[in-house]
Subunit: 190 residues, 2 copies
Amino acid sequence: MVMQERAVRTREALVRAAAAEIDGKGYAGATLSGICKSAEVSMGALTFHFANKSELADAVVERGCEVTRELVGKVAADGGCALRSVGALTLGLARLLEEDVAVRSAALLARERPEAGSDWTAAWLPAVRELLESAGEQGELRAGAMPVAVAALIAHLLAGAEVQRRCGGGANRLEPIWELVLHGVAAGGV
Amino acid sequence: MVMQERAVRTREALVRAAAAEIDGKGYAGATLSGICKSAEVSMGALTFHFANKSELADAVVERGCEVTRELVGKVAADGGCALRSVGALTLGLARLLEEDVAVRSAALLARERPEAGSDWTAAWLPAVRELLESAGEQGELRAGAMPVAVAALIAHLLAGAEVQRRCGGGANRLEPIWELVLHGVAAGGV
């Protein structure tokens, strides 16, 4: 029983360390020895839990997706105006990218290991699309704004938020940007 | 004279090969031996032109910035409505990210080597900001749309376009997205 708890804690420490290492160095740059060192776990203990770097990365993606699905569930439970929910979800995802290293690593791994199949985007994009369809049905979208194009816009903004953060930006900047998206940038006559 | 021409061609082949290698594998994953192989150049010839991977990456960034500055100059020369120029520049930059491997590598290196100082964004963001200031002065922007926020939105979209491409998207998708940005997504009453 005590051993089992320790194994859970060790696995947890490894996933956390792997998320930080991948976030900092990318998938190619991350090393198992670096992960062991920062998790304060031996290489033997690591290989007991994960056969290789790829399996460890899968666990990081799964952790990032879990946290993301929790947010999606929370926003859905809040209910209310669909377009407002889309905004809450978009800004909430930007905040997760800012604050949660597993979410950030999962987003990074989606582009660095596109062949791996476990995709962070799949944890939230279907919910955004569904909300936008509802928003369209309820007349909350401008006539020319197709739900699929708005979903693509949001995917671009979130990919941009993750990348901008690596260049020293902050995700909180997405709030004024979302306001622009809602109401447009062009003056009426332009 | 003949030798000099050959040296120019060799340098050119190395920069092109380095751009492709960095685009495909990232800065950490790119190797000098891989670049030599695809450029069909010996390691001796490579080190004659570039002391190390970092110098080669600098040359890739400089190439990407050159191409980008050409586009900026072309859009500025076209003149006309400032907000329309911002759109032309944004979509033109997205097209360069799609089609020009040196531009794409320069964008990638901006986030993978933020400490290097030679930043692709600096090749276009000041021009976008200036055009947006003009658009504001000429009443082309909606009252609530601040030039600095619109510039941040565009930076997010382009970062997103580069990343989305790595996940299998296409930059041409930015056209409907730019339409949404101009006119907003929310219906009048929302």
